[in-house]
């Protein structure tokens, strides 16, 4: 019996494949099929153009399933929509309402302490923030809107993504199950989940936040998983040898040591969120992205470029803050030799 084990996988795959072909044949419309099934072996015209009866019926079931989802779980999506929208609106209104020098001051404050009191980084970030409004006054509010969406999307990614990454690092089955899903999330074209997002949540900020989650969470999950798995095995052994429970090892040793990688993941997540927000302007999400779209659609090259520069500045701000925080944490765990230490 043992040696037949390796045949199980190919057999299952073959059976499933034949099953697919049978389904596609049976669900094809009559005008696409020959009179009798056996005609296929007589008349080989179906070898020319791809035959219509070899069409896997995915579209109809997907649409039907989706409709069923909307009808039966409408309230659930409504609740998510209201929650996320409420979060977004309150954050946006608060920041837009603040006088702009105060907002710049807050950004300076955050950068200074996140980077570990690095003056150069803080000055660079302060300049970029100032330039957002300087490029064009109406960009200020729009950049705040975009920032709010990115931050909420980021929050969602962190809250959901890091625990999943940890689960993947600890459990091989979970890991094997999730890896193909992550691949799917990263390669599927964005409109494939943007449009359903509109059907479920309506136009605006919420489908953008969901789209950010789908697009930007995979790198965070992967890097969290990697970070935890890369923690020195001997250090984990030390933790266990001294009687730490699994939870103590996770929180006291694994997560702190995986933090550089996790921060890298958050940085990646942020950059991809920003990219997605621009795409999301095509589903009515207000922000700096729709300035670019406006420029494109009205053939106003100057406007599109100016808005593009604003996006680059935003990206620099986010990148510098998250990177410098990551570097600060990493200094702790780097192999840095200090000379002149007497033994």
């Amino acid at each position: 019996m043992q040696k037949y084990k390796k045949f199980i996988k190919p057999i299952v795959i073959t059976i499933t494949f034949i099953f697919f072909i049978i389904i596609s044949y049976r669900s094809a419309k009559p005008r696409y099929k020959p009179e009798h099934f056996t005609d296929i072996f007589n008349d080989f015209s179906w070898l020319g153009n791809w035959p219509k009866w070899l069409d896997f019926p995915l579209m109809q079931p997907l649409n039907a399933g989706f409709d069923w989802l909307i009808v039966n779980y409408g309230l659930f999506f409504e609740a998510i929509n209201n929650f996320l929208l409420g979060l977004y609106t309150s954050m946006k209104d608060f920041l837009v309402g603040l006088p702009w020098p105060l907002v710049i001051a807050i950004v300076i404050f955050i950068t200074y302490f996140a980077s570990g009191r690095k003056v150069n980084t803080t000055i660079a970030v302060a300049f970029c923030t100032f330039f957002l409004g300087f490029l064009s006054p109406r960009y200020w509010d729009k950049c705040i809107m975009t920032t709010c969406i990115v931050l909420i999307g980021l929050l969602l990614c962190i809250v959901v993504g890091i625990p999943i990454g940890i689960a993947m690092a600890r459990n091989r089955t979970v890991r094997n199950a999730l890896l193909p899903i992550l691949d799917l999330m990263q390669t599927i074209p964005s409109f494939c989940y943007l449009i359903p997002g509109i059907l479920l949540f309506g136009l605006g900020a919420v489908p953008a936040i969901i789209a950010i989650f789908v697009y930007a969470v995979p790198p965070l999950i992967r890097l969290t998983d990697l970070g935890i798995r890369l923690v020195d095995k001997e250090v984990i052994e030390a933790s266990e040898a001294f009687g730490a429970s699994k939870k103590q090892t996770l929180w006291g040793v694994q997560i702190p040591l995986a933090l550089p990688n996790i921060m890298q993941g958050i940085n990646q997540c942020t950059m991809m969120s920003l990219a997605m927000v621009v795409i999301a302007s095509m589903i009515g999400t207000r922000g700096i992205g729709d300035e670019v779209l406006l420029g494109l659609q009205q053939l106003n090259v100057g406007m599109a470029t100016e808005a593009g520069i604003a996006i680059v500045l935003l990206a620099i701000i986010f990148d510098r803050i998250t990177q410098s925080y990551g570097e600060k944490i990493q200094e702790r765990t780097q192999k840095k030799k200090v000379f002149n230490v007497k033994d």
Binding site: I195, M282, I283, Q297, L299
Partner: protein
């Protein structure tokens, strides 16, 4: 051996050259301009098919929003546009006709509608018949805009379409801007999805929409009445519209506004293409090209429901199932087209 190899390579090279030159010497080359809504797409698909299979032309299609495509045509970069919403762009068209950048090739679809629509259940319940009926806080609340608290939302055109600016002006003139936002949905697909989504969830829908489209046949929308169409009023309004398009919303000044007239959709060609004598057969074809609204609607319904999103299949379906197109082309072209179906 080396000699033989050289001979062989020379033949291959010559063969490629020959292929290249023959394609460069194609009977005709046409560059079509296509827009990002479905009725324009279906006309471009049908015209491309006939031009390729019937006339043996090399067809290139460039797709985009109203502003860039029209600009490209005025700039002689695009040869033919099969569906022009003339009355929305009347000032622009008149200017360019005067400058001699384009010529018009007659009417394509004789009638079309545009307007502000409300879903039937809500319209019936609250007796909404005229745009003025919308001007109340209670009604606006039904269509609440989650990102503009206190206001309702009218899902409008995307900013690349002229109707976006027209609706902006209309909102101001009718006094709707106090109660509603003129919301840009970002893309044509998003607009359709927003309306379809609203219906699926049973929520009130207030949106700009138009025919001929595929969606109109599938959802129950009621058109709101606006002030009756008046030519002078419309012309004055479009002047302001063009001004805003060029210089931003701050140059708005009070003007007149009235309903979208039942306008015919026309066709246009760049003067460079039109002045070339060898393009005459194509121009004659495009001049003859005309599809009634009902048939356009039918094709678009096919596109949405049965073709699985395949515009070429929709074009072929139209050509296979109607005979009207045979009158647009000489008999031999028609035969070639039928043969390739």
């Amino acid at each position: 051996m080396k000699f033989l190899k050289n001979i062989l390579l020379s033949f291959v090279f010559a063969g490629f050259m020959a292929l290249g030159t023959t394609s460069a010497n194609a009977a005709c080359k046409v560059h079509l301009g296509d827009f990002d809504w479905d009725s324009a797409n279906v006309h471009t698909a049908i015209a491309s098919f006939i031009l390729e299979k019937g006339y043996g032309c090399e067809v290139q299609v460039t797709k985009g929003s109203t502003t860039p495509i029209m600009a490209a045509a005025f700039d002689q970069q695009i040869d033919i546009i099969t569906e022009v919403w003339r009355d929305n762009l009347v000032q622009l068209i008149e200017d360019n006709l005067a400058k001699g950048t384009i010529i018009e090739l007659g009417v394509n679809t004789p009638s079309s509608t545009q307007g502000f629509y409300v879903d039937k259940p809500t319209a019936d319940k609250y007796n909404l018949k005229h745009v003025d009926d919308m001007k109340s806080a209670k009604i606006a609340k039904l269509f609440a805009d989650p990102e503009a608290p206190g206001k309702g939302r009218m899902t409008s055109c995307i900013s690349g379409w002229t109707c976006y600016t027209i609706n902006l002006v209309k909102h101001k003139v009718y006094g709707l801007d106090e109660f509603y936002t003129n919301f840009d949905p970002g893309s044509g697909g998003a607009l359709d999805a927003a309306i379809a989504g609203g219906f699926k969830k049973g929520k009130p829908v207030f949106s700009y929409y138009w025919t001929p489209t595929g969606l109109m046949g599938k959802v129950d929308l009621v058109k709101l009445e606006e002030p009756k169409y008046d030519q002078a009023c419309w012309d004055e309004m479009t002047k302001v519209v063009e001004d805003i398009k060029a210089n931003g919303p701050d140059v708005y000044k009070d003007t007149c506004a009235c309903e979208y007239v039942n306008m015919s959709l026309t066709k246009a060609a760049s003067t460079k293409f039109a002045s070339d004598a060898k393009n005459k057969p194509i121009l004659d074809f495009i001049r003859a090209y005309s599809i009634p609204t009902a048939d356009v609607n039918r094709s678009l319904a096919f596109y949405m429901d049965e073709s699985g999103g395949d515009m070429e299949a929709t074009a072929k379906h139209f050509l296979a199932n109607t005979g009207m197109w045979k009158k647009w082309v000489p008999a031999d072209v028609a035969k070639k087209v039928v043969a390739s179906l």
